[in-house]
Structures are given as C-alpha cells and as structure tokens.
Amino acid sequence: MSFDIAKVRKAFPILHEQVYNKQLVYLDNAATTQKPQSVIDVLSEYYQKYNSNIHRGVHFLSSHCTEATETARKKVQLFLRAAHAREIIFTRGTTEAINLVAQTFSQDHLKKGDEVVITRMEHHSNIVPWQMACERYGAKLKVVDIHKNGSLDLESYENALTDKVKIVAFAHVSNTLGTINPVKEMIEVAHSKNIPVLVDGAQSVQHTPVNVQDLDADFYVFSGHKIYAPTGIGVLYGKEEWLEKLPPWQGGGEMIESVTFEKTTYNELPFKFEAGTPDYIGAIALGAAIDFVEKIGIEQISSYEDMLLRYATDKIKTIEGIEIIGNANRKSGVLSFVVDGVHPYDIGVLLDKTGIAVRTGNHCTQPLHDWYGIPGTVRASFAMYNTKEEIDYLMEKLEQVLSMLR
C-alpha cells in the first residue's frame, strides 16, 4: 500500500484553514500535532451519546465508557508492543508521566550520595522532575555530554553509569536536534549495571515504530497530543515488576481497594496510578488516533517523513548563512537552524505573516541552547500531512524574509 498524501491531508480539517488570508502551513508539529476528523468525531460523539464516569456505574453508559477506555488501553499496549494492558497508565502527558516515575521511584530508591543520569539534550520535562527528586533526597544529577553534531557521546554515557547511579532517563528523539538516540544499546549498557531506564518518547512514537519489549525499556512515556490525539492525555508504560514495586503516587478515588480512616489498601495495576476521574474520553480518542496511525502504517509514515526531512535539509543548505543545529546521522522529525546575524524571533514573526507556523526560541531545552551558545533556533517540524510543496513554500518565504532582515 502506498502513502496517499492527498487522502491523509483530507483527514485533517485544520490544514484547510487560512491565517492572515493565507493558506496555513503548519510546521510546528513537534510542539503539537493536528487532529484527524476521526479523533474529533470520537470526542463529540462520546460527549453527545455516551458520556458517563467510568469504573463506578452499573448503568449502560458507564459500562460503555469503561469498556471503551479499557479498549483504548489495549490499543496503546499493542501499539507499544507491551506485554500487558495493565502496564499502560494513563496520565496527562509526558510531563506528568515523568513526574510520576521521578517521585515514586525516588521515594524508595534514591538516597543521599546516589546519582541520576540524564543527557544534555533533554527537554525541561525530563530535567526538572529529576532535579527536584535529587534535591529532595540529596542525590546528584549527572548530565551526559553530546557531540557538536548533536549525537550523544556514548563514551560519556558509559562513564557516567557508575555504581552510584540509580536510574537513567533520556529522550528517544530530541525535540530540538532531531537526534535519534541508540535507545536499545543504551538500555543494554544500563541494564548490564542493573540500572533501570526511563525513555522519553514524546518525539518518537509518532515518527517511528516502538517496541518497548524489544528495547527492554523499564519506563516509556509519551503525550497523546503529539500523536494526533487530544491534549490532556498521555501514557506511562512501565514494566509490571517496576509498577508493582513503586509506591502509589496521587491518592484518591479509583486507586484504592478499600478505605478506612485507619488504613487504605491500594487497587491493582493500572488503577493504582490513576487516582480520580481520568480523561477517559481523551483516552478513547487516543485510541482513535492510534487506529488512524496504524491504518496508514507507522512504517509508511516514518519513511515519508524521513523523505520530507531529507528534502528540507538539502534545500535549506543552499540558503546562505544558514547553520543547521543537529546534524546527527540518524534524525527524525525536526529541522532546527540559526542564521548568521539574524535573531530567530524575527524570522518566526515574519514567517508567521506568510501563513507559516514554525517554532522559535529555546524549545524548552535551555541548557542545550546555552551549550551551543545560541539564544534559540528556528525549528520546522514535520508530521505525516506535510508536503514537499510546503517545504518549497517555506524555503521561498525564508529567503524573502531573510532578505528583509539582513
């Protein structure tokens, strides 16, 4: 089956909108993706026909929503190739999933003098929760270096994994550099020293097939909104043995088995980590987004997006004064760049006027930008619905904008 771009674009209503009377060219997909009609339909259909709180009512609607939520969990499990649906915890997103692990893991496994390892290319979401845990328990946060081209320094990585290290956390794909880290090998190295690993999959699941069992990841997290699902829903995958071991996080309804004022016993997985009413309709819509992705095929999407990235990379290199930030051999999804003597902010504002949405700034990876010694970059990031024509338009407008600014 071939990739039918016209058909894909048709599925996303927002792509046919205009901004400033110009056709929208949406190239900020690493921040969030647009939603296909099928996902939007699920949201309105459930609010119109089925809405009812899950896991509590015996009535028709409640059982319907409960079942649909658990079906969605199953879809996520199969999508990530996880062993069990109970290893899938619904969260608000990547950020909440990382906080959940950082806080519960550190409670029993982090003490004074221990170390936590992350990398220089992490999103603030995969820095700050660990920093907070380290501060609380007197542990140290260690940062693995990268090479100038944006690939991880694997020697620095191995050296960082000393006896004191209790957990390692890193991105599968960098949201700023696009670097695809050699996750499987990195996990193997960590496991050879009995160190568990959390993988931040916020920029990977939408671009590349992920098999958490093959990777042997202990924790793998992502956000629904970056894979064509609504905002407010995300996923924590955790190996059953780990999720059993970790203490519960937030307390509330759903996560309990029995409550007395003296003692509460906790529910089994996955509910132990889902206190309160979850965004169940968001979860059901996430299931619809995964259906959408799988119908097209994540391999197809992946090779189409790789083609776009290569095309954009080759084209932008012909523009004078452009420096691409992030030139690793294996890249996915994003093209970040700076222009000699021109502030990224100016480029972003002027491109906006032409209907092009790109991101400018530090993309929540401030330490990485500091290391490169740049205030920010312009980032074009791609999704399955972008086209070569859009890239041509970007390049044309970029040259025009640069001629105004230089």
Binding site: Y20, V342, H343, P344, Y345, D346, V349, L350, K353, T360, G361, P375, G376, M404, L405
Partner: protein, 142 residues
C-alpha cells in the same frame, strides 16, 4: 513635541503602507536606525527579559526630563523599541506617567503587546512608567 503629537506622527508614517511586508520593512528600518546603547549601559541591570528577545533600557534624568536609550537583540523588537523611545524620551515624568502608547494599536502592531508575545515590549512599557515614577519621587516634577 508632545507625546500625543509624536504618536500621531508615527501613525501618519505608517498610514502609507497597506501591505504587511512594507510595514515590517519600515519597522526593520527603524530598528536598524536606532543607535542603541553605550556599551557601559548594556548591563544585566538594564535587561528586560522577554523570553525570546531581550530588551535593554536605560534612563537618564536631566533638567526635569527623562531621556531613554534602548536596544534589542531582535530587529523587529528593536524597531518597536525605537518608536517607544521616540514617543517617551525627552518628556517629563508626569507626561510619561499619563500617556498611553495608543499608536501601537493604531498602526496594527498591537499583537506585539500581547503578554504571550514574549518580546519584552510589555515589560519595557511598564519599566518606562516605573522610571518616570521613580524620578518623580526623587526630584519632583519640574
């Protein structure tokens, strides 16, 4: 020239542009023409952080009037800064405190005032009023 007249003047200058490119080209030109700050005043203290672009603002007080100099690392912000300085500089603290920068909306650049815009302009306008209040407190209104 009063703050009011200066604002009217800017609005007139912009009234000839009907296309965004010309308008922004003029904004850029104004940015390029702003001589910026003496190195001595380009200090951490004078930075107004706008998250994406930085603004430096320095104020001097002489014979009852305030003189602003400013700069930015982004040229569009610098263009806006140049206009704001032109409007508010060389005025008394009271006049500065009482004048609203209505010209920004009038020339169709009000999106730059949105607090989410993160270019430092809103903070700069606050800082200008703050300087005026501080000088007024210190020297009274001449």
């Amino acid at each position: 020239m009063s703050i009011e007249t200066k604002q009217q003047e800017i609005v007139e200058e912009y009234s000839v542009f009907d296309d965004w490119m010309d308008k922004y080209a003029y904004l850029i030109e104004q940015g390029k023409e702003l001589s910026g700050l003496d190195e001595a005043n380009r200090t951490e203290n004078n930075i107004i952080n706008g998250c994406q672009s930085k603004v430096w603002l320095h104020a001097d007080y002489k014979d009852g009037k305030i003189y602003f100099t400013a700069d930015s690392d982004a040229i569009l912000t610098k263009g806006l800064v140049a206009m704001v300085i032109r409007v508010y500089s060389n005025e008394t603290p009271d006049d500065i405190i009482n004048a609203e920068p209505w010209f920004i909306k009038e020339i169709g650049l009000e999106e730059n005032l949105s607090p989410t815009r993160s270019n430092g302009l809103t903070s700069m306008l606050k800082q200008i009023k703050f300087y005026a209040l501080a000088f007024k407190a210190k020297y009274g209104n001449a």
